[in-house]
Every structure is written in structure tokens, then in C-alpha cells.
Symmetry: none
Subunit: 317 residues, 2 copies
DNA sequence: ACCTCCTATGAGTAATTGCCCATGAGCAAA
DNA sequence: TTTGCTCATGGGCAATTACTCATAGGAGGT
């Protein structure tokens, strides 16, 4: 995953080829001859530009069906905002589409003139969204992570997105210098009382807008896959009615945070208050249906970015 | 030009198809079967989405701005090619950046398989560019100098670049065995009628590509600094509207060669014909703004390598 | 100095896309 | 109803693009 930097000019070339191809609309043959390389090399540069996410495509048209679904959802659940993107029935990706839409929404918030605090959770979907962000300069804003950046084995949590975000967005950013899960409620108390952590928690509580992924439970869910919970712990949770999690905070089918030993060990900041702050959940996909519904009805989130299929499910239940 | 709005659903479909194509990365065949239409219709929807600018493509890389500027310049002045490099506001160098870019361009030409004639002018910028060239073997090409290699005091002209070029590039090279300035139009006639000079002039007129610097006038400009003109001659020229020179050929603010005693004494080859040959000007910097602009509008050159700041100036005037 | 491994490159080929044309449906005017 | 026009459609085909494979060049290790 680490990017090769041994040929720094190569990305420049890729950018140039990608620009000529996508923006200027030249063919790869023309690009090849203007850049003095072979057609195949031109093709490689173009796909490199795509692979490196130098090329950002966005669709600038409200699709009527999506808008309508969004409106209905917003009314039904009293949400602050809902964004629906088209479903792609042929893809099993849990990020495609909503990542771009979330990136656009993040960008809109960051382009506001007045200083804001933007909080981010964690997860693959959010990571994919942040990867879509363009370079932005917004020194007036603050970006804070709700979740710790250390995994159980002591390494940096890959899906902690604030570092990726810092690469793209020039703003003050505040990681949470904590593990994701600690060993006991007491340890959490102790860590949270440290000055550095306290001030980060304080900032997060003042968040104007928060972007969070919504994780489903299950042995294939992120908490297990990323090694935060053992299989038997997961089974125990699910027996107790848990259906989803946001930033590690586990909730049941009504979206109520569970009162159990796991939640006592979650070191994440509390989700910013939904009455004073916009908390946008980003998630789609059948496996997440129950978790998303619970997060909404339990008001763990008050805004949503999802896809058509998920929206239709939410309207039927 | 007015778009039909009688089928409002059509743009939605276009948006959906465009989304599936560009964001979800599906093929048009897949889109067609998903949407229940023929492949051709899917293709039409996708191109409609592009034509209606529903699809916004953005390149997130520093050189994107340069490419965009270059494109605008190329269109505005009908240039064959334009290359813009990032400006370095902290540097007052008139060569940094464009020298490397020019070297890359020279290299691209020299790597062409078919034999070409490459002509070079003179000047510090071009010298810096040639110094960036790697060792190349291209015995099939010919490299010719447009300008003489003897200064008024009889020594070799330091900024005559063909000798530096010969060090790096193994090709047949043709210096111009003349002074830069002669004493009269008659002397020029006589010298140009020599067999050796005539054949060199003949080669230069067949140049496929020409690289020239653009000199500004003024008592700090190259013509004065290098001792080709006296201060009072320079003042006289500037009173007559001269703003710049290429290979010693002095032109006014409209890029028209001046009809005066100095130009009659310039022994350089004529600039190769711009309708049949690519003549690339290499220059940047505030002091050269007027000269560059004149060279372009007067079509002394038909291609340009410069930096962002200069490009922005050229777009505003 | 030699060897090995890795990566970039170019050719060939399959897949995909863009374009032109003939056709026919829809619609307005006669 | 007929006529004439426009425009979407789908087939066919040429152009363009993506992928696979074998090879060459170069860095790094022995």
C-alpha cells in the first residue's frame, strides 16, 4: 500500500496523461506521440492516474428517483439531510458511489467560510470517501477523530481516516491518541482524563458536522475482521441483541447503546450530540440494512448517505 | 443549441448511465442490460451525460493547473504546442523549470525515429536547457544553429548553444560560421553568399523544429550585456518601439521585425517558416512579458515553453 | 564482477467504444 | 387520412482501449 516514491516524475507523467485523456479528450495515441512514448505506455499512465485516484469523477445531476427516495427518507425519520446515489446491482462493493457522494459532502462543508469543527469516525467506507477528496486548503477549520488510532496489536489503525484526510486537507487535525478498545472502564477513565485526550474530546463534542461509517456485527463485520473482537465475544454480543456499531459504540436493533462490558471498554469519543450537530452516517448494502436502520431510529445519526437499494429497504420497514 | 426538455426523464437516464459508467466503472454492455436498453442507447446516454456536462472530471495534481493554462494559451493564440511549468515565486532565475522542460522537449524530438532537422537559437535560457540534455546518440538527425558564433570582439559567443549541444548529442551539427552582427547589409550579403554559409542557411530553412530564446530589450537585456549593442543604440531601438529579439532579429510590440539598420546587420539565419515548421519559444519572467507576447502575436514563434506566471499574464492581455 | 529479481516496455490480441447509416415511430400540418 | 419532418433505435464496422505475455534493462545482493 505504501506508494513507491523512487520515480517521482512518474506521477507527474500520469497526471499529465490523465489530464490529456479525461479533460482534454485526446486519444491515447495522441498522448503517446505528444509525450514521446509508446501507446501502451500512455495507456499505463492513464490507468495509473486512475489507480492513484488522481482522476476524480463526479456526477453533477440530481437523479429524480434518488431525490424522491431521499425526500421520503428524510421525512419518515426526521433526518437533517439524506443523499441517495444510484445502486449498482452488479457490484458488491460497500463503498462505491457513496464514497464519492460523501467526499462531495465533506468538501461542501470544508468550503464554508466560517470556521467549523469536522469530526470523523472510522471504517472502510469513510476511508474510501476521504480518498476521493481533492487537495484543499482550509486552515480555519479543525478536523478531529472520534476514534483511537491504535489497534489491539499496537500498530496504527489503517482505517483511522484522519491521517489520510490530513494528506489531502490542510487544516488543523486532531487524532485521538488512544487505542480503540482498552482493557477496562477504569483504564478508559484514566486515559480520558489525560490533558491531551481531554482537549481532543472537548473539541469533538463541539463538532459542527460528523461523518461516520456504520458497521454491521457478525463474524465478517469490521470489528471481528480487524481483530478488535474475538469470535465468541461477537457471538455473545449478538445474542444480547447487538446489530451494529459506530466508532465502536455497539447498539441494538432500536439503536440504543448496549450497557455491556464491551461498550465500557470503547475508548472512542462519544458521538457528538445529535441535537446540536449534524452526524452523517455513510453506509449501504444488504449486510448493513439492520445496522443502518437501528442507527437511524435510535438517533445515533441524524443524516444519511446511502444508495437506492438501502433507501428502499429503509422505507419499507 | 437549445436542449430538448420534452423528455425530462432522459437526462436522468443519462445521469444514471454516466454514473454507472464513470463512477461504478461498468461497461456499456452491462449498463445496457441493467437499464434494459440496447448497448448503443447506453452509449448514447453516456455521451449525452458528458455532452451535458453532467460528468465532472477533475485532476487532483499540482500540474493540472499548468495543463489548463497551457490549453487556454494554445487556443487563444493558435499555437502548436504550449508547455507550462509551475512558477517558483521565490526564485528570480529566468531559466529554472523551463530549462528542464525544454530539455525534455528537445529529447522527445531527438528520439523520433525519422530523421529531422533541429535548429537552435541562442541565449541563456536555451543554454540552460541544453545543459540538461543527457547523452544521446542520434546520427540520423541534423542540428543547425541559426545564429553566428563570433562576438564583436572576435571571441566565440558563449551563449551559442550548438557546441554545448554537440557535447551531449551525437548528431551532425552545423554551426553558423559568422559573426552575430556584421557591419553592414552589404557585408551580410557577401558572407551569406559563401558556399558553406549558404548550405547551412539552406538546412536551417528546412528545420522541422526550432528552439529559440526570447530576449527582452533594455540596457540590461542580453544584446547590451553581451556587448552586441551599445547603450545608445539600444535606446534608439526602444524609442522606435522595439520590445524584444529572437536570434538578434528585433521586433516591435506587435511582433513585426523592425525595418532599421540593426536588423540589416543581423547575420543570423531567418527564423524557419512558422507555417511549415514548429518554432518553440522558451522564455519566462516579468522582464520578458512584453517580448514574449509580441513574439507570439507577431507569430515569430508558434509554440511556447514558459511558466505559470507568464502564462497568466499572456491570458490577461 | 556476476547473478538474480524486479519492473518497465513493446507486441499482439481481445474487449470495448464511437460513429454512420438505414429504419421506423411519433407528431404536426395539409 | 396523408404527407413530410424529426429523432430515437439498433446493426454493423472502424477506432480505440485494456489486457496478457515475453523480453530487456537495471538495481541490489552475493
Amino acid at each position: 500500500m505504501a506508494k513507491r516514491t523512487d520515480t517521482p516524475g512518474r506521477l507527474d507523467d500520469a497526471a499529465r496523461a490523465g489530464w490529456l485523456y479525461y479533460v482534454a479528450g485526446r486519444t491515447q495515441d495522441e498522448i503517446a506521440s505528444t509525450m514521446g512514448i509508446s501507446r501502451q505506455s500512455a495507456q499505463r499512465l492513464v490507468s495509473l492516474a486512475v489507480a492513484e485516484k488522481l482522476i476524480k469523477v463526479r456526477l453533477d445531476h440530481p437523479i429524480a428517483a434518488c431525490l424522491e427516495l431521499g425526500n421520503q427518507l428524510r421525512k419518515k425519520f426526521d433526518l437533517r439531510s439524506v443523499e441517495i446515489v444510484p445502486s449498482d446491482p452488479g457490484s458488491s462493493s460497500t463503498t462505491i458511489g457513496i464514497a464519492e457522494a460523501a467526499a462531495a459532502e465533506i468538501e461542501r462543508w470544508l468550503k464554508r467560510p466560517e470556521p467549523i469543527v469536522l469530526a470523523v469516525g472510522t471504517g472502510r467506507t469513510l476511508k474510501a470517501a476521504v480518498d476521493q477528496l481533492p487537495q484543499l486548503e482550509c486552515p480555519e477549520h479543525r478536523i478531529v477523530s472520534l476514534t483511537g488510532n491504535i489497534t489491539p496489536d499496537g500498530s496504527a489503525a489503517y482505517y483511522n481516516v484522519i491521517f489520510s484526510m490530513a494528506d489531502a486537507v490542510k487544516a488543523r487535525h486532531f487524532p485521538m491518541p488512544l487505542p480503540v478498545l482498552v482493557t477496562s472502564a477504569e483504564e478508559r477513565e484514566m486515559l480520558h482524563s489525560q490533558q491531551l485526550v481531554r482537549s481532543t474530546l472537548e473539541i469533538s463534542s463541539q463538532s459542527d458536522v460528523t461523518f461516520v461509517g456504520i458497521g454491521e456485527l457478525g463474524i465478517d463485520g469490521p470489528l471481528c475482521v480487524d481483530g478488535f473482537l474475538e469470535k465468541d465475544e461477537m457471538m455473545e454480543l449478538m445474542r444480547n441483541g447487538a446489530v451494529g456499531e459506530i466508532c465502536g459504540w455497539i447498539f441494538d436493533g432500536d439503536g440504543k447503546l448496549l450497557d455491556n462490558p464491551i461498550n465500557e471498554r470503547v475508548a472512542s469519543a462519544p458521538i457528538p450530540p445529535r441535537d446540536s450537530s449534524t452526524v452523517i452516517g455513510i453506509a449501504k448494502g444488504k449486510r448493513k440494512f439492520k445496522a443502518i436502520r437501528a442507527a437511524i431510529v435510535g438517533r445515533q445519526i441524524n443524516a444519511l448517505i446511502t444508495d437506492e437499494a438501502t433507501a428502499e429497504f429503509l422505507l419499507t420497514v
